[in-house]
Symmetry: C2
Subunit: 326 residues, 2 copies
């Protein structure tokens, strides 16, 4: 029997809240400890339609199930009145490979686990008294990353910049429930100037944050870059910050922000960095003092998918949600 | 809406028969013509439980949908009373990435499309008057490959060898419907001696067919080797046969039989070979005369999955089978 869950059932099981933080932290800890098997991402491009499907998979030792996730982005979809993102997760039994569940989440679980990773990055790397958040971009992740920050820091004001001002207006409407102040900025520079934590959430192909804008105490989470050609931070930032922390070093060496610094010979290809999981395991490896500049590079990992898919399935079983198909 | 199909519904849509041959031939033709996008296989190993999940994906230009397939093999399962193989296919819209169907086939469609590839190999490479088939191995593919051969050649006798004699007895029971004669052989050598077409269907890690047994006019399809460590043919055979034809050259350079010949410096890593699709497109590229020795190396391709998943979905829609889940 396979439990098929639709997206409204999935949303009843899992929401963006504090409960998910330790679950995703455990996934990052396993990754840092080498207690996972996470093969390179499979990527299928359909250039004709400006689309791609990515497949991520990870086994975490000790867990009774593992997930394989398909996430698609088709960038002409908005013209057709459809969301660009789509996806589903497959949960399999770790001992037998038997299919336990198909989670037809349409990308919702990816959105949530990605936002939770942003919360975890800020929790372990930003200054604890940070109240000013900067958000670059105004898409779904811009909203969720801001909401996620409020789970771990007492954010009172958000500074926002995005290319598309209409989307900024929508963003402010959507996040009004957070009861914080908003300031629309005229440039990414203005966002950085006012913020203690900056989250970049764009699919930009050229960097938006310049090295010269860095200031003491700043924490940046760059989470928009999940493909080779994407880039949000000037590569010099990777060298000049005090702590560069990837979610998965093997991934950021080929995706994310690090690989641009490697390509430009700013960082050696084999240079070692602690991963987010190492910082969760040992806070001494993170921010050393209030003035450190910290950067977290999130490319999205299969272990996050496995952790959230397993959690969703278990709650759905308890709530007796979903359709069993033999 | 996503159409979820269970395995009994899928079996109503698609069976091992002649109708699938042109559909899978078209997939191989597209592959040979470069009209496909087929990324390298994603493989997740769960060593602790002697298990693995492979993910294959392929887009074929001009088709309105593409498949991503998960196939798992957990080799302790028989001890638990479960089949080792498992799997499902996901069908997505080529223009939007929207999920069209989840095919919970438990590996059935993979079994069928693999057998059909064997039929296609024999159809285009073996001597047309071949009547003697040799089968090495006695698992599911042994049965299906023999059945597939009968679709394209007038097989009157099958010669069978497998390590496990109990499985051989079961094999003979299972294929009794084919109304052909069977002879159980005491060695792979005996099989080759008596056969005009030999199909190897084992997960062997050391070769079973020796170069010195090759004889004029023989066709061999090696389909058991779909992972780096697997090997059914002595690597010298690749050099000494008249035509070596892979399903996908980029795959057999790293999996299948060819890569063992490359590893042993018998074949150069960049040596070029026509693929099965090239032979289908132009029969002059295949067997030149009755005495040629031909070898087809099947590792299993994503384009076959896309072709059979699309076909199954379309028949299911016509027959109004499956469960729609929003």
């Amino acid at each position: 029997m396979t439990l098929v869950l639709n997206s409204s059932e999935i949303k009843k099981c899992v929401q963006l809240n504090e409960q998910l933080i330790p679950i995703i932290e455990d996934a990052f800890k396993s990754l840092a400890l080498g207690k996972t098997t996470m093969p390179p991402i499979l990527r299928l491009d359909i250039e004709k339609y400006h689309g791609e499907s990515d497949v991520k998979a990870a086994y975490i030792e000790g867990l009774d199930s593992y997930a394989i996730k398909i996430a698609s982005g088709f960038f002409n979809n908005p013209n057709l009145g459809l969301p660009s993102s789509n996806g589903l997760m497959i949960l399999l039994d770790s001992k037998t490979g038997v299919l336990k569940s198909v989670l037809l989440d349409k990308g919702y679980l990816t959105d949530v686990r990605t936002a939770i990773a942003g919360a975890i990055a800020a929790k372990h790397l930003s200054n604890p008294d940070s109240t000013k958040a900067g958000i670059i971009g105004a898409g779904i992740q811009a909203k969720l990353q801001l909401e996620a920050l409020t789970l771990v820091r007492n954010i009172d004001t958000a500074f926002i910049w995005a290319r598309n001002s209409e989307k900024v207006n929508q963003f402010i409407k959507d996040v009004s429930k957070l009861k914080i102040n908003y300031k629309v900025c005229s440039s990414p520079e203005e966002v950085v100037k006012h913020s203690e934590i900056v989250v970049t959430t764009t699919p930009s192909k050229s960097f938006l944050i310049k090295n010269e804008w860095l200031k003491k105490g700043l924490h940046i989470t760059a989470m928009g870059s999940d493909a080779e050609q994407k880039n949000e931070l000037e590569p010099l930032i990777i060298k000049n910050c005090d702590q560069y922390i990837p979610d998965s070093l093997s991934q950021t060496r080929i995706l994310g922000e690090l690989h641009h610094a490697i390509d430009k010979n700013i960082i050696l290809p084999n240079e070692n960095f602690n991963e987010l999981g190492n910082i969760i395991l040992d806070s001494n490896l993170g921010r050393k003092n209030k003035e450190d500049i910290t950067v977290c590079d999130l490319t999205g990992t299969g272990v996050q998918d496995t952790a959230i898919a397993k959690q969703t399935y278990e709650i759905a079983m308890n709530l007796k949600l979903g359709t069993n198909i033999n």
